[in-house]
Symmetry: C2
Subunit: 431 residues, 2 copies
């Protein structure tokens, strides 16, 4: 499969290039989480909602609602194909065959994306999904990819073939130079986490090829299942905030709430092992999470540092392991928050040799058109799709960066008290 | 016509992509000079020869002789097509219709490239053309373009599709950035002079499109007739060293030799006018040329500064005009020697507002793959095709840079004496 992206973008009609082209055109962690939910929480009801944290970019002014509806409706026609099912059943994930049990894949074969609700609100799309947690959760990545790619398409609409060719030539050169810089890092392990906020499917696919060609074994895979299948690379990813958020929402007391993040871990380790045992500590504050963690939590393989400053968060994790008699050199830290080359160099400089490191490179891999598209029109935005409630109870996320907090004000206040979160530092949210 | 260069290069067979694809795939000045020779010197015999001044790049080790022969033979099958003939007859050149007389075009329609002789010598190709001056002269550009493009093809051979795509993306980004830099210059006038040492035909064609798109009216045309015709831009160029070199070779006394450069001008102005009245003063030293020039020479439109440092040569011309009561602000200086953006910025800074300026941008427009191709394998080389003799007498060029002198040593010595050339400064020859 080889194509000239500029030509495809110039000629594209959504019939040959829909934004989402397969049930597998999603992040691998959604499948791992879905299986866990399938096994334990099939009956939980949930609401997911899309939020554009970059309010200055008025998506509803850029993208016509008909286009969003058309793409969302297209996603609702998708079903897992026999070849895709075979790949899920037979492929090795994280060194293991049969990662997904037959009953889960049976469900997945019958799965169709549930209904959605969309309306305009203050120049943004209020896009929500109501239904079972298992099904609504599957919308996260396709919904984000649709808004992200439709934004690109609308900005590029009307550009000539030559302009598009130069635009993609410059974007390719930029990605390639970034890769050449990263390549110099000792023991680099980096993967593509850029599905959700990608410039477009073809572009993400190109970026993955660039990583394959440029990094060789330092490239450890893509979060995108469809691309992983087609390009024959590892599908990667573990879990997300929605697990502790739903577990927390379902508790009935402050005491249960405080313990809920560890219930997630307990369930997770029943289903998964090895490099999938990655802590995501920041949902209600990294410091509190580590301090209150039962002893067995320190034996997990590693930790994903997300909303906290990576150097601060990584150092915190290393100290925590040391205090619990663990050897940090055998532990893995995954960094994945708004990474770009400079940030990766800084992190590598600080941590290399002290701990195993891996990077999940997202938006600034698959959607860095800063100064390439006219008038900053494609500068990255912080678009998220989060669980809003579970069984009618509000879902809350504090995170280490209050700019990323989610939930009703009174609940945020309650959670801050329960988790005994002290002063938090506001960091700029790039993506 | 739109194509993906990386794909074409990857798939190319010379049948669909010969290096030279038309009799018009040559520089416009060859046609102007040919018409002048056709009218006056149809019977003069000449020898042209290719020389690679960058001896460290052993072309005969890079390109198989069979490939060169195949391409040269292909050129010998070319004839002016009816559409091309119509364009030459009907198009406006330098503001004038019927630049070429019907009898010249009749000859051109019947023209076929004459025989060539090729052999390997010290890792280079000794490629020579014997015959009438009129016909052998036509080989200059195709011969250079063939060696230049076959070098590129051989270096790129074996690169994968992805590598080629990145290579061209980077080259496109580079050309585009150069154009964005140049664009800022006030009253810029720049044209493409890059046929002879181009990376390839498709690439030159792309560079011209980039100039059209990026520079608008600051782009004044291309020396390549075929591209000028297809892209509907101006065909540009005036005359070259071969005219004074042949005129000089045909003289019988030192006195006639000294006067011969001005005989060229006298003939030229019988045929051409306006912006075609461009002096090329460096064949036997710019200083001597200007000092000895008859009064009427100063009334020509302008001068092309070639082998001398552009600032020194330009200042010399301005002083010379002023001494002869001419207003430099009405004069045109064309710079065309080894230009790149930095050099153009330096020249513009020095001369802008004092004289009209135009740039003929050659190799570093159409063949700048420095640090893009692996191992400096496509760094520019100084490949020329020059007249070696006329009617059996050796042709000589001194130029302002002794590194560019051509001819037998005893003749060079004689010419240096006759033209009273003093100390010359050796400048590095980039292209």
């Amino acid at each position: 499969m080889y194509y000239d992206i500029a030509t495809r973008v110039y000629n594209h009609t959504w019939k040959i290039d829909p934004v989402v082209r397969s049930v597998l055109d999603t992040d691998f962690y959604k499948l791992l989480m879905a299986q866990m939910i399938f096994r334990r929480y099939r009956d939980i009801q949930a609401v997911f909602g899309v939020k554009n944290r970059t309010t200055s970019v008025r998506l509803a002014d850029i993208i016509a609602i008909e286009e969003v509806v058309e793409q969302l409706d297209h996603v609702r026609t998708l079903r897992l194909s026999p070849g895709e099912s075979t790949w899920l059943r037979g492929n090795m994930f994280y060194g293991k065959r049969q990662m997904f049990s037959p009953d889960f894949i049976d469900w997945f074969e019958r799965f169709r994306f549930p209904e959605y609700q969309i309306e305009k609100q203050d120049g943004q799309y209020a896009l929500t999904f109501h239904g079972s947690w298992l099904e609504t959760s599957m919308w996260e990545i396709p919904a984000l990819a649709i808004l992200s790619e439709l934004r690109s398409r609308n900005v590029l609409k009307g550009m000539g073939r030559f302009e598009l060719q130069v635009l993609y030539a410059r974007a390719m050169s930029r990605v390639w130079e970034k890769i050449q810089t990263l390549k110099t890092l000792p023991q680099l392990k980096i993967s593509d986490f850029g599905t959700r906020r990608r410039h477009g499917f073809l572009w993400q696919d190109w970026c993955v090829q660039a990583m394959i060609e440029g990094l060789g074994s330092a490239f450890s895979g893509t979060s995108n299942c469809l691309i992983a299948m087609r390009r024959e690379v590892e599908a990667v990813g573990t879990n997300a905030h929605e697990l502790p958020m739903v577990y927390a929402a379902l508790t009935d007391s402050d005491e249960d709430l405080l313990r809920s993040p560890y219930h997630v871990l307990r369930d997770w380790q029943e289903d998964y092992a090895g490099n999938l045992l990655m802590l995501l500590p920041d949902t209600y504050g990294t410091e509190s999470f580590l301090k209150l963690a039962p002893e067995w939590v320190a034996s997990w393989t590693g930790i994903r540092i997300d909303s906290i400053d990576p150097v601060v968060g990584g150092d915190m994790a290393i100290r925590w392991w040391e205090e619990r008699g663990q050897n940090p050199k055998e532990k893995l830290i995954i960094f994945s928050d708004g990474l770009d080359t400079d940030e990766i160099l800084r992190i590598h400089e600080h941590f290399h040799g002290r701990v195993r490191i891996a990077y999940g490179w997202g938006t600034l891999l698959t959607n860095d058109f800063r100064d390439i598209a006219p008038g900053k029109m494609l500068d990255p935005i912080s678009l998220v799709c989060k669980v809003v409630s579970a069984n009618g109870r509000p879902a809350v996320k504090l995170s280490d960066n209050p700019a990323k907090a989610i939930g009703p004000a009174d609940q945020i206040e309650r959670y801050l008290k329960v988790f005994n979160v002290g002063d938090q530092k506001v960091l700029p949210v790039i993506v």
